[in-house]
């Protein structure tokens, strides 16, 4: 790193920006973001995208309005998706500047100007792309579920630590007021001694994974769909267009099951609420059904986490139960459900106190961008992602082996269980090894 290197080529911070970065949104005046709310180009975060489909487009739509962010390049194995994102971004900025790339290696090697990337491929690529991007000096916002195995999660943690990168996993409910209120009720002791938490798992798909191959179709030209790259570290299988249109869900090679689909969110929420983001559940009790519904897991401190398909009238619900009462929340609730309605009077106070104490905004993408600027750890940091995803992976292994399993969070392996330990990693396919 040359002495004469400018701030722009590394990180762009100014006193005004730094203040914007530390403050909760309600406390940031427009003037703090630059003159008339506009942001000088030299102070912008340059953002790129890797593998943005439907979900990625949604997240990008959250990110684009951020005034200090400029999306400059999309990398996708599918040409159609490169073009779709380019159209969307160019329409937003009123120019044709969004660059397109097909090969992730080419993108990361040539775009040294890009500060951060949004990764929203399918599950199979999240960890590999994150590690590659962090090694290339990018900060990373990765969609969930952010690892396919325990070993992949460890690789993400290692890369973020080693290279000093900012990493946020897309568990956005950690930055939403209703869920924050529930977590704060628990943290401040209003619920008393919490003995049970309940975590929503997706009410579709199954824990049992598919291994079949769809019928082979003629592989398109590489410039249209780079099939080898689309598969990435996963085992080869013949091309079928359905995979590239979202039909990869439910396959062992590509997906983390109905448990990972929402557990990536809800296990993270429960573990953060319990202050257990640096560990994983230790006991997993097998349930004889297709989804893991009703599985009881237990943490070292004795708190039980129960996996449930029902119990909320919204998505990604959690419920915390203690000696003094309970709170339950899911997407779409106008307010959390609580055993004592009087707690709701403190809704604003608890959420504001949280924001004052943690200096976190109620916006997941904003938290990421703030952390890029002040080099602070994000709310959904790599260790939290890895530990909660380890709970997901262990619950999946429990279902796949159709028996109880025990996990040692210190050693990060199943306890005296060589068979289960075989699932801790999967050999990556060359050249997509990290």
């Amino acid at each position: 790193m040359a002495r004469g290197e400018t701030r722009r080529t590394f990180l762009r911070q100014s006193a005004a920006f730094a203040v914007a970065a530390i403050s909760a949104p309600t406390l940031i005046p427009a003037s703090a973001l630059g003159r008339d709310g506009a942001v000088p180009p030299s102070e912008r975060i340059l953002l790129g995208g890797i593998g943005l489909g439907g979900r990625g487009t949604g997240v990008l739509n959250w990110m684009l309005p951020e005034k200090d962010v400029r999306f400059v390049a999309i990398c996708d194995a599918r040409k159609s998706q490169q073009q779709a994102i380019k159209r969307m971004v160019d329409a937003k900025y009123g120019n044709e500047d969004c660059a397109t790339y097909q090969d992730i290696r080419d993108f990361l090697a040539t775009r040294t100007d890009v500060d951060a990337v949004l990764i929203a491929t399918g599950d199979r690529w999240h960890a590999t792309a994150s590690v590659m991007a962090m090694r290339a000096g990018k900060d990373v916002y990765s969609e969930k579920p952010s690892s396919m195995t325990v070993a992949e999660g460890q690789a993400v943690v290692e890369a973020a630590r080693r290279y000093g990168r900012i990493y946020q996993t897309g568990t956005q409910r950690l930055s939403e007021a209703n869920f924050t209120f529930a977590n704060e009720l628990l943290r401040t002791g209003r619920l008393g001694d919490v003995h049970t938490v309940r975590a929503h798992i997706a009410p579709w798909d199954a824990a049992e994974m598919k291994h079949d191959w769809l019928p082979a179709e003629p592989e398109p030209a590489k410039s249209e769909v780079d099939w080898d790259q689309w598969l990435g570290p996963c085992p080869w299988r013949p091309y079928n267009a359905a995979y590239t249109r979202g039909g990869w869900r439910g396959y062992y090679d590509f997906h983390t099951s109905c448990i990972g689909e929402w557990g990536a969110h809800t296990f993270a929420q429960c573990q953060v609420a319990l202050g257990l983001e640096n560990t994983s559940a230790v006991d997993y009790q097998y349930v004889n059904n297709e989804s893991g519904d009703g599985m009881v897991t237990r943490f070292e401190n004795g708190v039980r986490m129960v996996l449930q398909r029902e119990g909320w009238h919204g998505t990604c619900g959690v419920r915390y139960e203690g000696s003094e009462g309970w709170v339950s929340i899911a997407d779409g609730y106008s307010q959390p459900e609580v055993s004592r309605p009087a707690w709701l009077q403190d809704f604003t106070k608890l959420v504001n106190d949280y924001m004052a104490r943690t200096q976190r905004p109620m916006s997941h993408v904003r938290d990421f961008f703030n952390c890029i600027k002040n080099r602070r750890t994000t709310v959904a940091h790599p260790v939290m992602m890895h530990r909660s995803m380890t709970t997901v992976h262990a619950a999946n292994v429990c279902m796949w082996l159709k028996r109880d399993v025990k996990f040692d969070p210190q050693k990060e392996e199943f306890v005296r269980d060589p068979e289960a330990n075989r699932y801790l990693a999967r050999a990556a396919r060359a050249p997509w090894t990290i």
Partner: protein, 658 residues
């Protein structure tokens, strides 16, 4: 033997089935097979898919017997990864030896894969064999070798990679650096601090991208153990921003008191953005020792420094900082004031409560109002008598703030006090504040009927304006008693009070007021009152707790009373908020009615838009399409037509995707 025969028979059947063009695999999980069966599959003429499945299972159940069979596939481009898929997970030195021995015969992706597997298995014996691959002309092979050697953590390899970096191209340098860093980290984990430090220091002297510099500096700090924070101090004082930012990121990851001290020392010397970032880092460590140095910054001339200092104090959450924070709540800068109040509100303990009470005793009205604000934010219920006392303040600003805050602070038993304040209020602003306070207080009551009775009991002594305020309070409380009280008001003769009572029913906190409003809409002889009742009735349809069927039932009742085009528009507006097929069907006939067709078209768009967001629109796809087609054909508004056509496309795409 019998078991083996059955396996062969099953395998033969599987091969035959495949040959006949049937799908080779099923989505149903196959029963777990034993290692010998899987080996037989690999040795047979089974398809690639069947062999792949066998490898997948061997990754879980494979043992020593599988190794030679799997090794036979390592040079086969179509099966090499599958062989590794199994081998990488099978424990034992046989696998390591097999992978090492296979190296000379491999090239391209197969070679890259095996090198990677040796690294993943941390096979120390492979280091010597892998070293020459660092110079392989195939960049992928050289990269794999660097990463694997790093993973293995061989010191000699790390030194070789370090030497090679001096003449390497920029991409090569990145892999080699990763290899060296992994090797040095591995030495560190083994407690070999000196050789690790030498590697990190040597690497840091090279020209490298910023992230590698950060990684190297981090390693150099960790390799110095207790002396690491002091070593990092130099970089935290650097005027070179990238160097400073790297150091800061590293410092944030080291949670020792020494590191806190180093950061505070750096803060003393820093200016501008460096100072701000250091203060943020210090705040996030929640170290009590930092409270005084941070508080000293509260009077800085740079507002950015002041605000950052407040935020850092909020993060530390030390009650001792309450006194100094209390001085900031009436700061001339609005943003500073807001942050100071928020911070003071969030501090734990009783000491901040005392500071807040002192604020209300100060002579400046602004301080009193700020104190009232923080009292509520801190939920200081013990301060209620003081707040009620302030509600009699001669200063209007303080008085209004106190009346409003008293209601927010008062518990379920605070109703009488709040009602008294309302009945004393004469000016509009004071009445509004008292109404707000009384509602806030009574909403906390566990018994709604008791709360309603309290309010109803004040009716006879209240002025007309106070009665309107009481009606609003009743609507926010809800329940049978409150409803009875409002009904009595409707039966009165004063038209203004009657209208206020109807509005109160329209603002009811649940649909329980709907029958009263419907009855009024059906029977009232006063056209103004009839329309007001109908509008209020339809307003209750928006109640979030109501299910779509119940909403439609209410709308159907209202439809029977609709007379004028304006009322139809009201109905259409309500229907547009119900995103169901029956709602859509109810709107469609109005597309043909000239005086309301544009409102109907807008309603169709809103309903369709919501319905098309649903995961499954099977049965609704056709009616939505037809309704949108009708909109496009009838509207005179080009923008509505364009939206309808666009939504039609969305619907078709969704149906096709399904």
């Amino acid at each position: 033997m019998k078991h083996l025969k059955l396996s062969v028979l099953a395998l033969t059947l599987a091969v035959l089935t495949n040959a006949l063009g049937q799908p080779a695999a099923t989505s149903q999980p196959a029963p777990r097979r034993v290692e010998s069966e899987l080996i037989q599959v690999l040795k047979s003429t089974a398809t690639q898919k069947e062999k792949a499945d066998a490898c997948r299972e061997l990754a879980i159940v494979g043992g020593r017997s599988s190794v030679p069979v799997l090794a036979g596939f390592l040079a086969d481009d179509s099966m090499s990864h599958w062989a590794r898929y199994a081998l990488e997970r099978i424990p034992g030195s046989e696998v390591d030896r097999t992978l090492r021995d296979s190296l000379p015969a491999l090239q391209g992706q197969s070679l890259i894969g095996v090198i990677h597997s040796l690294g993943e298995r941390k096979d120390a014996k492979a280091a010597k064999a892998l070293l020459p691959y660092l110079s392989n002309p195939d960049a992928g092979v050289a990269r794999a070798a660097a990463l694997a050697l790093g993973r293995i953590g061989d010191p000699a390899s790390a030194k070789t990679m370090l030497d090679q970096m001096k003449s390497a191209t920029p991409p090569q340098r990145l892999w080699l650096a990763e290899g060296v860093l992994r090797g040095a980290d591995s030495l560190l984990q083994q407690g070999k601090e000196k050789p690790a430090r030498d590697l990190f220091d040597a690497l840091y002297r090279l020209e490298l991208p910023h992230q590698v510099k950060t990684a190297t500096l981090r390693g150099a700090v960790l390799a110095r153990g207790d002396k690491g924070p002091a070593f990092l101090a130099t970089y935290l004082n650097s005027q070179n921003f990238p160097e400073f930012a790297s150091a800061l990121r590293i410092a944030r990851g080291i949670q020792t008191p020494d590191m806190s001290e180093v950061l505070l020392n750096a803060m003393d010397k820093a200016r501008g953005s460096h100072l701000i970032l250091l203060m943020q880092a210090i705040g996030s460590r929640r170290d009590k020792e930092a409270v005084f140095p941070l508080a000293m910054r509260l009077h800085d001339s740079d507002m950015a420094v002041v605000k950052t200092s407040l935020a850092a104090l909020a993060q530390i959450g030390e009650p001792d900082s309450a006194a100094v924070l209390a001085t900031m709540v009436i700061h001339t800068n609005t943003e500073v004031r807001a942050i100071a109040r928020e911070t003071l509100a969030s501090l734990p303990g009783t000491q901040p409560d005392e500071e807040v009470m002192r604020l209300t005793d100060r002579s400046e009205n602004e301080a009193k109002i700020a104190g009232l604000d923080v009292i509520v934010r801190r939920r200081m219920t013990q301060a209620l008598p003081k707040v009620l006392d302030m509600a009699r303040s001669p200063d209007e600003g303080v008085r209004l703030a106190a009346v409003r805050r008293a209601g927010e602070l008062a518990g379920p038993n605070g109703g009488p006090d709040m009602l008294k304040l309302l009945l004393q209020a004469k000016e509009d602003a004071e009445l509004a504040a008292a109404e707000q306070g009384l509602s806030a207080s009574l909403l906390k009551s566990p018994n709604r009927d008791e709360a309603a009775s309290l309010v109803a009991g004040a009716w006879s002594t209240a002025s007309a304006e106070q009665k309107k305020a009481l009606l609003n309070v009743l609507s926010s409380i809800g329940g049978p008693k409150a409803l009875e009280a409002v009904r009595r008001a409707i039966e009165g003769q004063d038209p203004e009070i009657r209208a206020a009572a109807i509005r109160a029913l329209g603002a009811w906190n649940s649909p329980e007021a709907a029958p009263d409003l419907l009855k009024l809409a059906q029977n009232s002889n006063d056209p103004v009152e009839r329309v007001l009742s109908l509008r209020s009735y339809l307003g209750l349809v928006d109640e979030p707790g109501l299910k779509p069927d119940a909403k439609m039932e209410m709308v159907r009742e209202a439809a029977k009373l609709i007379k004028s085009p304006e009322e139809i528009k009201l109905l259409l507006s309500t229907l547009s908020g119900i995103s169901t097929l029956p709602s859509l069907q109810m709107v469609r006939p109005y597309l043909k009615q000239a005086d309301v067709k544009e409102e109907a078209a807008t309603a169709v768009l809103r309903i369709s838009e919501k319905m098309l967001q649903a995961r499954n629109i099977d049965k609704a796809a056709e009616p939505i399409d037809k309704a949108l087609q009708e909109v496009a054909a009838t509207t005179a508004n080009q923008s509505i037509k364009d939206r309808a056509l666009k939504l039609q496309e969305v619907g078709k795409a969704k149906a096709a995707a399904k």
